[in-house]
C-alpha cells in the first residue's frame, strides 16, 4: 500500500518498472528497495526458514538482521531491504539457506 497523502512529506513521482516476483510480473518504483516494492504490493513473505519452513519477512530495514533474504537474479541471500529494484529483476522466495551460484 502506497502512502499518497501526507501532511509533512511529499513523495515525488518515480519511474515505474516491471519485475518478476516468483515468476509473476509486478510493478515497483525504480531504485526503491525491493522490500518496499513487495510490501507496497501486499507481499510480506520473503523466505521460508531452513528447518520449520516458517514465513520470514521484513524486520530491520538497515541490512542488519537477515530476515529479508531472497534470491535475486539467481543469487541467494540478497538483503532486499537495502537492494535497489531494477527493471526486469527476478525476485524469488528463498527456501532454506539458498545455494551459491555456479559459474558457467
Amino acid at each position: 500500500m502506497r502512502i499518497t497523502k501526507h501532511p509533512v512529506i511529499h513523495f515525488p513521482e518515480r519511474r515505474r518498472v516491471k519485475f518478476l516476483f516468483d515468476g509473476r510480473e509486478i510493478e515497483g518504483f525504480e531504485d526503491e528497495p525491493i522490500a518496499a516494492a513487495l510490501i507496497a504490493q501486499g507481499i510480506r513473505v520473503f523466505s521460508r526458514s531452513p528447518r520449520h519452513g516458517r514465513a520470514r519477512g521484513f524486520f530491520c530495514a538497515i541490512g542488519n538482521c537477515s530476515s529479508c533474504l531472497m534470491q535475486v537474479d539467481g543469487i541467494a541471500n540478497v538483503r532486499i531491504c537495502v537492494t535497489k529494484l531494477a527493471p526486469g529483476m527476478r525476485v524469488e522466495t528463498q527456501r532454506g539457506r539458498g545455494h551459491l551460484v555456479e559459474k558457467d
Partner: protein, 363 residues
C-alpha cells in the same frame, strides 16, 4: 593500500559531526557509509527535535542530515564514500572495506566508529511472523519510501521512539489500535503521548504483548496486563485485530568493529547493552580507536552530535592538528554533553556512562 588520517565509520549524527570537526582542524578524513546517502537514521526523522539550538532543536531530523551532509560535501578535507561497508579491522589497524563489488584495504591513522545501534527483539510466540517489524524499520518504510507497513498496528513500547512512530503512522493514514508499555508509566516525553491521546489512541501502561497470531503473517495479537514484577496477570488477556506489530523496545549498540578492534566492552543495560570503555575524549581502550553516538551507548541524536564532535576534535588533535580555539571547542562540547544529561531524565544515562567512563589521557 589506501591511506587517510582518520577513518569515520557511519554517517549518522555522530559520524557526520566527527568528520566535520576533524576536517575543520585540517585532518584528512574518509567517511564510510554503507547506505547510498549520508545521514544514517536522521533521514527518516520527520519530527522536529528538542534540546538546545546548537543541536538543531526545532529542526526536523531529515533537515539536520541535509545541513551536515552539505558541510561534508563542501569540505576539501573530507572524502565521503557512501555505498561502502567497513567489513572489519585487522590487528595492524587496517580496514577491509567493501565498495560495490570490490574489496579495498585502507590504512587510517585513527578510527572513529560511529555505527549506531540496532533494534532490540522481544521474546513472545509469533515474534518471527512477517508483520512484526522494528519501529525504526517501519519509520524507514513510511517516511523514506512512502510505503505503509499495514493497516492496523499494535505498537509495543511507549518510549520516545514508540510514541513518535505511532504518531507518524497516524500521519500516514494508518490506524494505531493501541500502544502497550510494560512499565507502569510512559517512558517518552509526555508531549508525544499527549498528541496520540488527542487522536484517541489508547496508551496502555503495565501491558505487554503476549502473542502474535497468524499463519504466514500477523493476523492479530493478544495483549496482557503485567504486575509490578512484570508477570502477566491471568484473565486480563485481550485480542486485538491487527496486521502489524511494531516493536519499539529499545536499541543496542552495533559494536562489531569495536569488538574486533579489541576494545574493552562492558555490559551496561542503561546504555542498551555492551558499550565501550572510553575516556572523556571518546577514545576507547585501544589507542587511536574512538567511538561516538549510539555505538558508545544508546542515547539521543543530540548527544551523538556532541560525542562525534569531541571524538573528531580529539582524534585530529592527537595527530598534531590544532587551532586557536581547539581547547575552547572541546571544553564547550564536553560541558554541553554534561548539561544534556542533567536532570531527572538523564539519570539512567548518567548511571550508565559512569560505568564506562575512565578519566585520564587514555582509557
Amino acid at each position: 593500500m589506501k591511506r587517510t588520517d582518520i577513518a569515520v565509520c557511519g554517517s549518522g549524527p555522530a559520524g557526520l559531526s566527527a568528520a566535520i570537526s576533524a576536517a575543520s582542524l585540517g585532518a584528512q578524513v574518509t567517511l564510510f557509509e554503507r547506505e547510498d546517502v549520508l545521514g544514517g537514521q536522521l533521514v527518516k526523522q520527520i519530527h522536529k527535535f528538542f534540546g538546545s539550538e546548537k543541536q538543531y532543536a526545532a529542526t526536523r531530523g531529515i533537515e539536520i542530515a541535509r545541513i551536515l551532509a552539505r558541510q561534508v560535501e563542501v569540505s576539501e578535507n573530507i572524502q565521503a564514500l557512501p555505498g561502502t561497508t567497513v567489513l572489519g579491522r585487522y590487528r595492524d589497524g587496517s580496514l577491509m572495506v567493501e565498495r560495490g563489488q570490490s574489496v579495498e584495504i585502507w590504512q587510517p591513522q585513527r578510527l572513529i566508529v560511529a555505527t549506531g545501534a540496532s533494534e532490540t527483539m522481544l521474546p513472545f510466540p509469533g515474534n518471527d511472523l512477517p508483520g512484526v517489524y522494528g519501529a525504526g524499520a517501519v519509520q524507514t518504510l513510511m517516511n523514506v519510501y512512502g510505503v505503509a507497513p499495514g493497516r492496523r498496528v499494535l505498537m509495543v513500547g511507549a518510549g520516545n521512539i514508540g510514541l513518535i512512530v505511532s504518531f507518524q503512522l497516524l500521519q500516514a493514514g494508518i490506524n494505531v489500535e493501541a500502544v502497550v508499555e510494560a512499565a507502569p508509566q510512559v517512558g517518552g516525553y509526555l508531549v508525544h503521548a499527549a498528541k496520540l491521546r488527542r487522536q484517541g489512541v489508547p496508551i496502555l501502561t503495565s501491558h505487554t504483548i503476549k502473542e502474535a497470531h497468524g499463519v504466514d503473517g500477523v493476523e492479530g495479537a493478544t495483549i496482557v496486563q503485567v504486575s509490578e514484577d512484570w508477570q502477566p496477570i491471568d484473565g486480563t488477556e485481550r485480542f486485538l485485530e491487527v496486521d502489524t506489530v511494531c516493536l519499539a523496545v529499545g536499541l543496542s549498540p552495533l559494536a562489531e568493529l569495536l569488538w574486533q578492534a579489541g576494545c574493552q566492552m562492558r555490559y551496561v543495560p542503561e546504555l542498551g547493552g555492551h558499550s565501550p570503555v572510553r575516556n572523556e575524549h571518546m577514545e576507547t581502550t585501544v589507542k587511536g580507536v574512538y567511538a561516538a553516538g549510539d555505538v558508545a551507548g544508546v542515547e539521543e541524536a543530540s548527544t551523538a552530535l556532541l560525542e562525534g564532535q569531541i571524538a573528531g576534535l580529539a582524534a585530529a588533535a592527537s595527530l598534531g592538528y590544532s587551532s586557536e580555539d581547539l581547547p575552547r571547542l572541546l571544553d564547550e562540547a564536553m560541558s554541553e554533553l554534561v548539561s544534556l544529561r542533567a536532570g531527572p531524565r538523564g539519570e539512567k544515562v548518567r548511571r550508565g556512562i559512569s560505568q564506562v567512563l575512565r578519566h585520564g589521557e587514555t582509557a
